[in-house]
Symmetry: C2
Subunit: 272 residues, 2 copies
């Protein structure tokens, strides 16, 4: 059961005229909070700011958003805060924004999900038959048009998998349905370019920054599907999972997790 | 100002946990109502039924939906009814549907929009720089993930255009941002295939059925962008506009409207 605040007031209903509902016209952030601290908050707010610019969604007060998230974060324990920022109630019928909308902000606090039994052998992952359409104008954003991810998750059914990988409609590997992917070959780590589709995850940013700081920058590039059958190591990232090694990739065991372990240690250190 | 009913009750707020808001996980129909009669109602409900099947959104009672729309249609005058059917309140966090959600239905009645001065020379239309991602699983559906159309409409700005055409990411012509397109060459009418993206409009169906009944079926096929510079006639369709001739296509006047006129006459006849 979630607690919910809308435009700063405890509430759990929004106007049925909201463009977030009608068109998915908005953005969201999923923030992990641990012992009173919303983690990576500045990065979340910065991504949201970029998203607002790209969608021409007029919102300025990111400091207030941060303070609001902080104020609703319990001093102890873990929870998940989801922030949705829509363009707001429609001022006219039809797709075209008037430009004068007042955004709606929805903040919902969820219990930390019950953990499954840990997977000592790593996540089991396969490629979904659901693909991602290409759109450079929306690529990278955590916007509210998420039917492709819904279909990919629904298609998993009862398959013994912790995550599915999604390809672009052009056939390239983009990432997990709710995570980013990193792969390693003998020259180091690489991760798919998100220039045409996919979400630029916060943990992806953190991993890239950490790797660069350690003198082994991650290459961001096109990743063709056949490369999956050649890598020795791969891991998934999101803010809840952190760095999650893949143990079984399309049925093939991945023997190594040297990069994942180094990153996990770095993430667990007090500085992170 | 709209009137609004939610799950059959007069209301204008929905739960902030609705998957329609979080993911655009739902469908909609825009129905024109004239003098007590929701036009093409059976076709709208049939498209909605197909959409529910494709999204595995469990809804059975389309007859009740039709009765509800009919009951809120004023006996005189014109209005627009928008029906949104979402997968309903989330039963768990995350993209994956539980399969046990109870859909939310939102019915909103809008005044008929004020008409602009009629355009005796036809609509002015150009190609948008905003493209449509390819996804066969979503193609054709009138789902709630509409950011591409929002961006295309926003990008029109103050350009002297009544509509913009959208290309697929593969560069093919798909349709208008809120309409379908038909084109004519010396062999007759053709319209873009919507196998990979686009919305299968109700008026598009009506036009195709009428043309077939008159012995000149519309060819549905891939339409490459350069063809736009060669057609002698083109028109747009949606339920509000009916058949709307294009007078100026990317700055080039289109001299003919023989097919559009024949279809308009047929649509205006009492049988339609």
């Amino acid at each position: 059961v979630a607690s919910s605040w809308i435009n700063g007031v405890r509430a759990d209903r929004i106007g049925a005229e909201d463009r977030g509902l009608h068109y998915g016209d908005g953005l969201f952030e999923t923030i992990t909070c641990i012992d009173g601290r919303p983690r990576w908050l500045a990065l979340h707010l910065e991504r949201l700011r970029r998203g607002c610019q790209r969608l021409q969604l007029r919102w300025d007060d990111f400091q207030m958003l941060g303070a609001e998230i902080q104020s609703h974060t319990p001093a102890e324990g873990r929870c998940i805060m989801k922030l949705i920022l829509t363009r707001g109630p429609a001022q006219q019928r039809g797709y075209r924004p008037s430009g004068d909308e007042t955004p709606t902000r929805i903040l919902r606090r969820y219990d930390w999900p019950a953990e499954r039994a840990p997977a000592p052998t790593g996540f089991r992952v396969a490629v979904s038959s659901v693909t991602l359409g290409l759109n450079p104008l929306l690529a990278g954003l955590k916007h509210l048009n998420r039917l492709e991810q819904v279909l990919a998750q629904a298609a998993m059914g009862a398959a013994p998998l912790e995550e599915v990988l999604m390809l672009s409609s052009a056939g390239d590997v983009i990432g997990g349905s709710r995570s980013n992917i990193f792969l390693a070959d003998e020259t180091g780590l690489f991760t798919p370019s998100l220039a045409d589709c996919g979400v630029e995850g916060i943990m992806r940013q953190v991993v890239c920054a950490s790797a660069a700081a350690h003198g082994a920058p991650v290459r961001v590039r096109r990743v063709a599907r056949p490369e999956l059958s050649q890598v020795r190591e791969a891991f998934l990232t999101n803010v809840r999972w952190g760095v999650q090694p893949i143990g079984l990739l399309e049925g093939r065991p991945l023997p190594e997790r040297q990069h994942a372990r180094a990153l996990q240690e770095w993430l667990d250190a007090p500085h992170a």
